[in-house]
């Protein structure tokens, strides 16, 4: 009797452990301070100005700990914080030059420790998205953006929403895998306007099947 009772308890424990692994949620197998100590040991003395890249902001920390599936409370908090960070152009015009935007979408360099500080810098959108039909070298981490503006009838409200999405992807979807290009000051306001035009200008190859 006692033996079978113990066996049951042990089995319950084991299955609980299995579930926590399989669910892919935060498993808290190791203390945050321990992880922080390893991180510190791995980047002991980053170059001037680079320590901020090793450290996490609140949003990055929560998305890491929850493996991009924040609970309802965290979800709302991230959303509010990221929405507040979006800065629209002062003149309200979110569309720049689509030709310059094409370069922003194509260029994959900038900001790497192997890059020159004043070298070309782009959003590398093609790493993750299909955009113009003629460009066959595109990645699949994000959805296809083929004919993005055309499908939306070039509506001004949709262009503004796309600008916000590119400025801060997490202002739309907390813990999105897409970088927060404006919020992280990776792209300039002009570059974000240009790439928004690449999606929304009727002359852009994105909208020419």
């Amino acid at each position: 009797m006692t033996i079978s009772h113990r066996t049951f308890a042990a089995a319950a424990l084991i299955s609980a452990a299995l579930v926590s692994v399989a669910s892919g949620q935060q498993t808290a197998k190791v203390a945050p301070e321990t992880i922080a100590a390893y991180v510190k040991n791995t980047w002991k003395a980053p170059a001037e100005g680079w320590q901020a890249r090793v450290d996490q902001d609140q949003t990055q920390r929560i998305c890491s700990e929850t493996r991009n599936s924040p609970g309802k409370g965290d979800f709302e908090k991230i959303l509010a914080r990221e929405v507040a960070s979006v800065a629209y152009p002062a003149d309200g015009k979110v569309l720049g030059d689509w030709k310059a935007g094409e370069a922003v979408a194509q260029i994959g360099t900038g900001g790497q420790f192997s890059d020159k500080a004043d070298g070309p810098r782009g959003g590398n959108c093609y790493a993750c998205h299909q955009m113009a039909a003629k460009e066959l070298s595109f990645g699949t981490l994000g959805p296809s953006l083929l004919e993005y503006g055309k499908i939306r009838k070039y509506a001004a409200a949709d262009a503004k929403a796309a600008y916000a999405k590119i400025y801060n992807a997490q202002s739309v979807l907390p813990c999105s895998n897409m970088p927060r290009f404006g919020h992280n000051k990776f792209l300039t306001e002009q570059q974000i306007k240009d790439v928004t035009a690449y999606l929304f200008d009727p002359e852009s190859p994105v909208n020419k099947p």
Partner: protein, 292 residues
């Protein structure tokens, strides 16, 4: 004499290999150009098949210049060096002093003498320092090879890893420090940071994803992807014309992540390596391999 013959053979093959690469790139480009627009998916599929064929060709061991590193590594292992003027045959890679066969398949692991968990590169550095007392600054300066720079570390890794080729990964998680590092490695795999908000999981946690046309292995689960990936490092990288180790691969992924360069042979890299090696458990080790 025998080694000399093998060297010239290898360098001939390097040339052949470079020609083949050009041919392959040409083939890929012609496919991309020949497909009419509006059929991007078909083009991507065809490209994927072509890349598959290209990979199969590159794993031909007789066309692999990394066997030059294996030969150099063997010589380094057996040559007396450092101020103590001894060879690495006194180095314990976990299976006993001087035992190389099968050692790589069980790394990273806990070492009592150092009271630390170490991957192959950390252990080799430890042995060079404590057993041989070689000039560590010079060794670390040449950690990655480049034009005109030969790396002792890459050569030794090629030699030692090759002595586990044909075996299966069997890393132990018996020691509490191994368990801690495995858990840290898993956490670091999901840790987002820097100006792109990337973690390893951004690029390596779904099946069948690509960056541009480059296929990405799903390393978030154990099984075939993780096994084929981990079982093929160290590898000769045709695009870099060098043999590379896992330290270099993760250094390169952190570069793409816009992080600062991780310190060579630091504990975070070993933690990630334990996590990835565990995901690859049961997989065949076939190294050094050759890839893009």
């Amino acid at each position: 004499m025998r080694i000399g013959q093998r060297l010239s053979l290898v360098s001939q093959r390097t040339l052949l290999c470079k020609r083949l690469t050009l041919l392959c790139i040409g083939l890929l480009m012609s496919i991309v150009v020949a497909i009419p627009k509006g059929q991007a998916q078909q083009a991507a599929d065809a490209t994927e098949k072509e890349i598959e064929r290209y990979r199969a060709m590159l794993s031909d061991p007789f066309a692999n210049p990394a066997f030059l590193n294996v030969d150099r590594g063997e010589k380094l292992w057996t040559t007396p060096r450092g101020t103590k003027n001894v060879s690495l045959q006194g180095c314990d890679l976990g299976e006993g002093p001087g035992k190389v066969d099968g050692a790589y398949a069980k790394l990273p692991r806990y070492f009592t003498d150092a009271d630390r968990v170490m991957d192959l590169e950390q252990r080799l550095l430890w042995c060079m320092e404590t057993v041989q007392a070689v000039d560590m600054k010079d060794v670390i300066k040449r950690r990655f090879s480049g034009p005109g720079v030969i790396s002792d570390m890459e050569d030794l890794v090629a030699y030692v890893a090759n002595k586990s080729s044909g075996m299966k990964f069997a890393a132990s998680l018996a020691h509490p420090k191994e368990q801690e590092m495995h858990a840290v490695g898993e956490a670091m795999f999901y840790r987002r940071s820097a100006v792109m908000d990337f973690s390893c999981a951004t690029c390596h946690s779904d099946d069948g994803k690509r960056i541009r046309l480059q296929g990405l292995p799903n390393l978030s689960k154990s099984g075939k992807n993780a096994q084929e990936t981990m079982g093929s490092w160290p590898t000769y990288r045709v695009s870099q014309s060098q043999m590379r180790t896992m330290q270099h691969r993760l250094w390169d992924c952190y570069r793409q992540m816009r992080m600062p360069a991780p310190d060579y042979a630091s504990d975070g890299i070993t933690a990630l390596t334990i996590f990835l090696t565990k995901q690859a458990e049961g997989g065949d080790i076939l190294v050094p391999s050759i890839k893009r």
